[in-house]
């Protein structure tokens, strides 16, 4: 047992000075995740706003979510590498492709779930379409939009780990290199750190959600106790 943890607890692997050390792998992993998530959000959120606000193309929004979930992530990575060659850019493109569906679907679903009476009142108060969107619909849809971003983040963290198999850096390197070198302690170190990272990212998302969602929407001011807002949240694909 002790042997299996040697790599994880060896101080040499945590030294900042060496570029192969665990802290550098963590930073790399976070970089890939942040880049992919930012690009995916920049694509998916405006489209989700448009479809949710106008209800045009709802079919597309629902189906892209289902398609994204059933697409095997490892297959997509393999295909992109075989067609486009090794390199970071094609792999980050794959991460973006996998992060778009959950964000798009939840953004759309969030806007559609907004009480039509609230939208009508906003219109009755003289708000313009853009004001209705950003001052009424989006704040009320925020919990679902953020849950989509959180699933997408988890999806990207997990897929980036798998992508080490086809040459991406990050924490997956520890896993994949450990497996090919038959160094199980290195594999364990990678698994533990990447699992901890994923859990921390999810916790951070949870915290962010509490901070930015209006208390009036999240029901934290309500006295009713149990909030039954969303029983069936569309779960994202995962890797």
């Amino acid at each position: 047992m002790n042997d299996d943890r040697a790599y994880l607890f060896d101080p040499a692997n945590w030294r900042w000075a060496s570029p192969q050390s665990i802290p550098h792998r963590i930073i790399e992993h976070l970089e890939f995740t942040a880049i992919a998530l930012t690009i995916a959000a920049a694509i998916a959120i405006p489209i989700g706003f448009y479809i949710g606000h106008t209800n045009r193309g709802a079919f597309f929004a629902i189906n892209i979510g289902n398609a994204g979930r059933s697409l095997p992530t490892f297959g997509l990575l393999s295909l992109i590498v075989t067609l486009a060659g090794l390199g970071q850019l094609p792999l980050i493109f794959a991460l973006v492709v996998l992060a778009v569906p959950p964000i798009l679907t939840t953004t759309y679903a969030g806007l559609r779930a907004v009480d039509p009476a609230a939208v009508d009142s906003a219109r009755g108060m003289g708000m313009r379409p853009m004001q209705i969107l950003f001052r009424a619909e989006v704040p009320m849809a925020l919990p679902l939009i953020l849950s989509g971003l959180r699933s997408a983040a988890l999806q990207v963290v997990a897929t980036a780990t798998v992508a080490a198999y086809v040459g991406l850096g990050g924490l997956g390197r520890l896993l994949v290199d450990g497996l090919s070198l038959n160094q199980y302690d290195r594999v364990v170190a990678g698994a533990v750190v990447v699992a901890a990272l994923a859990i921390l990212i999810d916790l951070a998302g949870n915290l962010l959600q509490r901070l930015v969602v209006s208390p009036g929407v999240s029901g934290r001011f309500a006295r009713a106790g149990k909030v039954s807002a969303s029983t069936v949240v569309p779960e994202a694909a995962r890797a």
Binding site: M1, R69, T73, G75, S78, A158, A191, A198, D202, E235
Partner: protein, 215 residues
């Protein structure tokens, strides 16, 4: 493409068969474990939050990490198919506990009270009234779990057991897109077929839904 399929039919079928087993056995195990857990979460209110929190944490662990960490926890061999099955069963439970709990919670209290008044005992009421009414929401969870398991199995190819994932690693080694495309297509088709089968099962299990009555 057709030539590739024709020449490698045996390999493809073996990978496909393994894929089906590796994806679906965990669904069955996961549902069997999640049903009582979800029930407990509803029965004992204080259990709900901790169970949902633990599920969320488990669900957020990346699959490859869970696949390779399991030998340390349950003592399997690193390259054993059991790692994949147990890992996917854990994801299924993590996802389904919430579905089952929310489904049972959503059953109208008037209905359960009516059943009790008609003389249903707790267990008989659970199996004969609550569970059938909760079926659509539970099956919605089963659909998500099944489809995501099917797409996850292939990651197992990295540790040597991955059903159709074997076609992906082969394509990568040969720098040859054919096996990869065949694998992706079969995986997506399998997911679509299983998803429709569950929808059909739901129609069969909840005949009242078609009559336009309220569940």
């Amino acid at each position: 493409m057709i030539d590739y399929v024709r020449n490698n039919m045996e390999l493809i079928l073996a990978a496909f068969g393994q894929h089906i087993a590796l994806a679906l056995i965990p669904v069955v195990i996961g549902v069997i474990v999640a049903l009582p857990l979800g029930y407990l979460a509803v029965r004992h209110d204080w259990l709900y939050q901790p169970l949902i929190t633990i599920s969320g944490v488990l669900y957020s662990i990346p699959s490859l990490a869970l696949f390779v960490a399991l030998p340390l926890i349950i003592g399997t061999k690193v390259l054993s198919p059991l790692n994949i099955i147990v890992a996917l069963a854990i994801y299924t439970v993590a996802l389904m506990v919430r579905s089952v709990a929310d489904a049972l919670r959503s059953v109208d209290r008037n209905v359960t009270q009516a059943a009790t008044a008609m003389g249903y005992r707790p267990l008989k009421r659970l199996l004969g009234v609550d569970l059938p009414i909760a079926t659509p929401v539970i099956l919605a969870g089963v659909r998500v779990a099944t489809v995501s398991n099917i797409s996850l199995v292939s990651v197992g190819a990295i540790i040597g057991v991955g059903g159709l994932g074997a076609l992906f690693t082969r394509g990568l080694q040969l720098r040859f897109p054919e096996p990869i495309i065949v694998g992706i297509v079969l995986s997506v088709i399998l997911a679509a077929v299983m998803d429709s089968l569950i929808v059909l099962a739901q129609r069969y299990l909840t005949p009242w839904a078609r009559l336009g009555g309220r569940a």
